[in-house]
Amino acid sequence: MRRRQFLAGVAALPAAALAQVDPLDPLVWVVTNGAPVKQGKVTVELPQLADNGNSVPIRITVDSPMTEADHVKSIHLYSEKNPVRNMANFYLGPRAGKAEVNSRVRLAGSQKVTAVAKLSDGSFWYDTASIVVTLSACLDES
């Protein structure tokens, strides 16, 4: 192997190794049926720090013209640490006009939140956002 090829290979490795969406994750598999999930197009906006995990504002936007031919079909929201990892699924269509959803989520601790979007052409895209939660949403006593 030539030195240049080797270096290119090494440089490409971490990106693949660090992919945050595991296509083999059963929760993701249910949605993608094993199709690759690429990073991009989707943006997840969360505050960097939340004092209280009981209600954290979240905004998910997808870069899409939202036309009949090219639109977002669904957005799936996953938490890394919540007992129920699939927090919500949103189903949109060309009638949405704008691929954006805002909501408020419960988070059990500092973690990464991932959104996977399914587009009308059958491709899947994702983005993650990290958040520090000072007081996590209570699992036991309130």
Partner: protein, 106 residues
């Protein structure tokens, strides 16, 4: 279950309108205990759907990962005057619905 739904009363044809839905609901996670130590049964709103003149334009599957008094904001294209119908149901089978009309001008 009371809900507050905000959307513009009037819009231009083709305009993208913002819809904000806030439903009064505890979204019980099923992981909490009451004063005597019994587990409180899970009770969350599973489905929230929005129909525009009978055609579904938005649907959300919610879980215990959504905050109490769930808030969802989304968009739709105003194409015809008519009615937007919101419908939701929780684990106990309680249903709620709300209607709002929209005037679409040229």
């Amino acid at each position: 279950m009371t809900a507050r739904i905000q959307l513009p009363a009037k819009a231009k044809k083709g305009e993208v309108v913002e819809i904000r839905v806030l439903i009064q609901h505890p979204m019980e996670t099923g992981y909490r205990h009451d004063d005597v130590g019994h587990l409180i049964k899970r009770n969350v709103i599973n489905v929230l759907s929005c129909r525009y003149n009978g055609v579904e334009v938005f649907r959300a599957d919610l879980s215990s990962g959504i905050a109490a008094n769930p808030y969802v904001q989304f968009y739709t294209v105003a194409d015809k005057s008519g009615e937007l119908e919101f419908y939701w149901i929780d684990d106990e089978g309680q249903q709620g619905s709300e209607r709002q009309s929209i005037q679409v001008g040229a």
